[in-house]
């Protein structure tokens, strides 16, 4: 795996730079998957570019916060899916947004598998995804996952609020 990482040193990053998409390579994660940092307003064009490159499978979309009070990060793991491949190409794209105004364009129209996963990131961390066809909460009725919520903020929601929130 390490040999492969050296051989594809920023290959997708180099391709994106060649086609003049602004991004910032963040190195590699522990398995050797390339990580790119993308700005929120440019994310949609880079997503379409990556789809055109061949990344047709959105494996994982999740969100986390960098530190208590820090920025929120939306992570996308993409893969090239083919028949019987051997070590298909993978890439991880991260979109950093501020905590006060977390807005990211939704990639539902590029990869439909972002549907429930973006809804869950919206529910858990409050990142709003523009263009998502049905952005409603999935698991919980309250913001519960942010790191700066002290203790059991989940339980601060009253029962009537939870019942009313079966909104659809």
């Amino acid at each position: 795996m390490k040999f492969l990482a050296a051989a594809t040193e920023g290959r997708i990053s180099a391709w994106l730079t060649k086609h003049k998409f602004s991004h910032r390579p963040l190195g590699y994660d522990y398995r050797g998957v390339e990580i790119l940092q993308v700005k929120s307003d440019e994310w949609l064009s880079i997503a379409v570019a990556l789809y055109a490159y061949g990344f047709n499978y959105l494996r994982l979309q999740c969100a986390y916060d960098a530190a208590p009070g820090g920025s929120l990060i939306s992570v996308y793991h993409l893969t090239q899916m083919r028949d019987q491949p051997d070590q298909p190409e993978e890439i991880c794209a991260k979109v950093f947004v501020s905590r006060t105004n977390p807005q990211i364009p939704s990639v539902y129209w590029v990869w439909k598998s972002a549907d429930f996963q973006e809804r869950e990131s919206y529910d858990m961390l409050g990142i709003t995804y523009w263009g998502h066809p049905y952005l409603r909460r999935i698991p919980t009725p309250c913001w519960s996952r942010r790191e700066d919520h002290v203790g059991n903020a989940r339980f601060s929601c009253s029962f009537t609020y939870m019942v009313k929130l079966l909104d659809f």
Partner: protein
């Protein structure tokens, strides 16, 4: 429809808009079984968290444990001995057979055939017995550890497991004789819930749903994890993409799993099974005297833990429902910073509204059953 369902579907609420007998629109409402697993993981060491993970997919519990244990192992570069790897393969494939069996029963029960429901429990009880003898628990095993497995297989387990494989394979053929060419079953299932290849990839499906649409994608072959490369087996797939294809893929996978188990049992080497935690406690036995006067009121004794480096990665296994993944961000401490679970049922359930548009009300259960979701992992 729901959230309560008969015959083991978990709590899923489907708001269906029908026009007569046809379904116009459908909206699944999830979250009834949300327990905050990801948040809890941020405050538990991996060994403390292992009992929780079996509650995600409670029918194929070994996979949840495998991925939870693989994540820190790969992050901290811990190698596992070969015997432990083979034991893991055997347990994983037994769990896959068990999961597909318990998918088969309720799927057919929803279509209307009640008898296979009892048949599958006959085999599943045998698998439970094998698990209980090896791990101590029938379902929620807590067997995998970082570095290997918790305890070695007892004496005679290998023979019993071979006996089970020889018993189970004719039974799977019996299921095929009972079900596959049954005209009522075929009418209910053929052509229902068609997913094309492009759709399957775009919607992020995985597992049998993906392989039934013609994509030969199996993480056991792609990621080369554990010792699957040393065993001779094939990916099972179909091209039709309807519910019948998904059923056939799962039946074939069961037969292939029995094949893998038999090969792995023959190839099982000797050697350590490596419970690093147990070894550490045994080393400490001389130093710490937990029964002494100073510790007599200490109820909670901390166990040795693994320090996760400040790295991140995404590990995955081929669970029977699909691709079960964990995105782990370590924090240079024993607790992870972010433990995101990518459940296969969550991704597979997204396609349900699109599949149901234009179908009859009776097809809802067929399609929902053929996608094979389990709410424990969908909601976490």
């Amino acid at each position: 429809m729901g959230p309560h369902h008969p015959s083991m579907h978990g709590v899923l609420r489907l708001v269906v808009v029908p026009q007569g007998e046809n379904v116009i629109d459908c909206k699944p409402i999830l979250g009834y079984l949300h327990r905050g697993m990801e948040k809890i993981a941020e405050n538990r060491t991996i060994v403390q968290y292992l009992p929780y993970v079996t509650r995600w997919d409670y029918l194929a519990t070994m996979f949840t444990e495998a991925v939870t244990v693989n994540a820190p192992e790969k992050l901290a570069n811990i190698q596992i001995p070969e015997r432990a790897s083979y034991i893991r393969i055997i347990m994983l494939e037994l769990s896959r057979v068990a999961s597909h069996l318990l998918w088969l029963g309720p799927f057919l029960a929803d279509i209307g055939a009640q008898t296979p429901f009892f048949y599958i429990f006959r085999e599943r009880e045998m698998i439970y017995d094998l698990f209980e003898v090896a791990t101590g628990m029938r379902m929620m095993h807590n067997y995998f550890r970082i570095g290997g497995v918790a305890a070695d297989l007892p004496y005679g387990w290998v023979d019993k497991c071979l006996d089970f494989c020889q018993y189970c394979l004719p039974k799977i053929y019996e299921y095929e004789r009972l079900i596959t060419r049954n005209p009522i079953f075929l009418k209910r299932v053929k052509g229902v819930g068609f997913i094309s290849r492009q759709e399957a990839i775009n919607w992020g499906l995985s597992g049998p749903c993906l392989r039934a649409s013609g994509v030969q994608w199996d993480l056991r072959k792609i990621d080369h994890y554990e010792c699957y490369d040393k065993i001779d087996w094939q990916i099972k797939w179909q091209t039709e993409g309807d519910s019948l294809a998904r059923y056939l893929v799962r039946i074939d996978e069961m037969k292939e799993s029995i094949n893998i188990i038999q090969q792995a049992l023959k190839l099982l080497p000797g050697g350590p099974y490596e419970n690093l935690e147990g070894r550490r406690i045994a080393q400490e036995k001389g130093r710490m005297n937990w029964n002494s006067f100073n510790y007599q009121f200490v109820g909670k004794k901390s166990s040795p833990t693994v320090k996760l480096p400040r790295q991140e990665h995404y590990v995955r296994v081929e669970a029977p429902k699909g691709e079960l993944g964990v995105f782990l961000i370590g924090d240079d401490s024993v607790f992870p910073w972010r433990f995101k679970i990518r459940p296969p049922g969550f991704a597979n359930l997204q396609i349900l509204p699109q599949l149901l548009k234009g179908m009859k009300l009776a097809d809802i259960m067929t399609i929902l059953g053929s996608i094979d979701i389990i709410m424990g992992e969908v909601d976490r």
